[in-house]
Symmetry: C2
Subunit: 317 residues, 2 copies
């Protein structure tokens, strides 16, 4: 098998492992949290029935009742009649929670109730967050040619100068991302979620794809939603692909800034030689350029990372 | 003024501007959200009084009441008696919210109620998130010498070989970060927040510094907390410094991996020449190394980013 084939096989393996990791997290979260949730739910039902049985409601008893209602609500257990049917810790919801954990979006609409759940969340994110970043990077590496290098080439062939071509390409890519990952999903969300306006949808997309994840708007939490598990999986795919596109956009912007000298303009005065060199490393090359002559700097720059076993040359003290 | 002085002046300017940006956000959020919150709060008080005045509580009226209570609670307005004194949108709380927005932590314990607030959140984060990343990077660049390059040098001078020195250093740094930014703050939080256990504190620190920010535990939200604004500012400083240390740790790990060939081991088979080269660029140098001879690869590598105006050489299609 050639290296391209191997590379795609590895990517498929990574994504498969990512899905397995999410499923594993979902199973563990579900088995830890569901019993605790069920107990809390039963408690709340009993509490509500007891409250309704009182002959007269005093301010103190109402206060007591509300304290417990709001505490349960914090953990995603609502006392409302029409919300008791669905669990926050069924398989799809647990997977959705695991996904928001490893992508660092973290809506917090459901949170672990038990200490075991909290401890597992820490361990799960400790492995999951770097792994997700790895999978995202691997995916971006592979769509880079299709969405960045190819189109820029095409623009250049159609007669544009190299620098304007990268700007035109970036603007086009930005428009594409805003259309496909902000405006279109916002329209879909505002249609599917009955209480969401278009602005709510847009706000949700933005807050999610920036990984802020406030959690005031979370799709698939309304009672009686049809095909809820399927919808949650669709939102998870949207989040993953959206984050990938945000990362691609950031990388393209960085490449374009490099090309236009914007990086060095924005860059802080150097305090570490190595960092600056690293950031200034050119990523692009001119077609019609004559190869530069090796300078002293090129000669003194090590080529094999394996042969540089300390941080010494950047020690200027 | 020398370049080091200028560099520190620029950093001070950046941090000052960061604080001003947070204050500006706090003022805008406060002025937009406070009136809406006050109105909701008054509504809730009236609702509660009306509910208590009923001669008998029916299941339907309780359901109605609870729906409104829970909706208000979602926006951070509680009907409980002892929580009505403090606003979620006073200056300190608004600044805390602005801070969780730009650092992408996003607890979501308070969220904008009005459409204006939501729209402003989008614009504010659009500028604030990249700016925060810039400030964090600038800070990390400056503590890199003190906490990474200096100590590694010291370890080498004390007789350790370069590679083991970087491992020992990374382990020491990791222990320091875990102690100072996870265990110690967790102990402080569990002491200050009456309802938090040590695990709760640790869980909060971890979920925050990974920018997941579930928001089930947020410091300074309990009623009757003393010196609340001061406490919130302290938590903001903790978050900022903690994120800086997490970033430093990540960078040190990356440097160490480079040195030990772990990066290339973990790296996916190349699909883009430029990306791989960029990632493999060595950051460290060996003291006793003979300078490598310029190879063909070095000669063909452009040295001045300003002279490379397209993405063409990475186009292999």
């Amino acid at each position: 098998m050639n290296s391209v084939g191997k590379s795609w096989l590895l990517l498929t393996g990574l994504i498969l492992f990512y899905i397995i990791y999410l499923l594993f997290g979902a199973l563990v979260f579900s088995s830890i949290e569901r019993p605790v949730e069920d107990e809390l739910r039963r408690d709340m039902e009993a509490l509500k029935a007891e409250f309704l049985n009182q002959s007269c409601v005093s301010a103190a008893s109402l206060e007591n009742f509300l304290v417990r209602v709001l505490t349960a609500n914090k953990y995603g257990v609502s006392v409302l009649r029409n919300s008791t049917v669905t669990s926050n810790w069924d398989l799809a919801s647990s997977m959705f929670f695991a996904n928001t954990l490893v992508t660092t979006v973290g809506y917090g609409h459901t949170t672990p109730l038990s200490d075991t759940g909290k401890a597992f969340s820490i361990v799960y994110a400790l492995i999951g967050v770097p792994f997700t970043m790895l999978v995202l990077t691997a995916c971006v590496q592979r769509i880079m040619y299709l969405l960045v290098i190819g189109p820029v080439c095409l623009l250049q062939r159609s007669g544009l100068e190299p620098r304007p071509a990268t700007v035109v390409h970036f603007v086009l890519l930005l428009v594409l991302v805003v259309l496909c990952f902000f405006l279109a999903p916002a329209a879909v969300f505002s249609a599917v979620e009955v209480s969401w306006s278009f602005l709510d949808g847009l706000y949700f997309c933005f807050i999610s794809l920036c990984t802020i994840g406030l959690g005031d708007f979370v799709p698939g939490t309304q009672p009686g939603q049809k095909y809820r598990p399927l919808y949650q999986v669709a939102v998870m795919v949207y989040l993953f692909v959206g984050l990938m596109m945000m990362y691609l956009l950031l990388r393209t912007f960085h490449k374009m800034s490099d090309l236009h000298g914007l990086t060095s303009f924005l860059q802080l005065p150097r305090c570490e030689e190595s960092d600056v060199d690293e950031d200034r490393e050119p990523i692009v090359d001119r077609e019609d350029r004559t190869p530069p002559q090796p300078t002293e700097k090129a000669a003194s720059r090590p080529l094999d990372p394996g042969s540089q076993p300390s941080y010494n040359t950047i020690n200027k003290g």
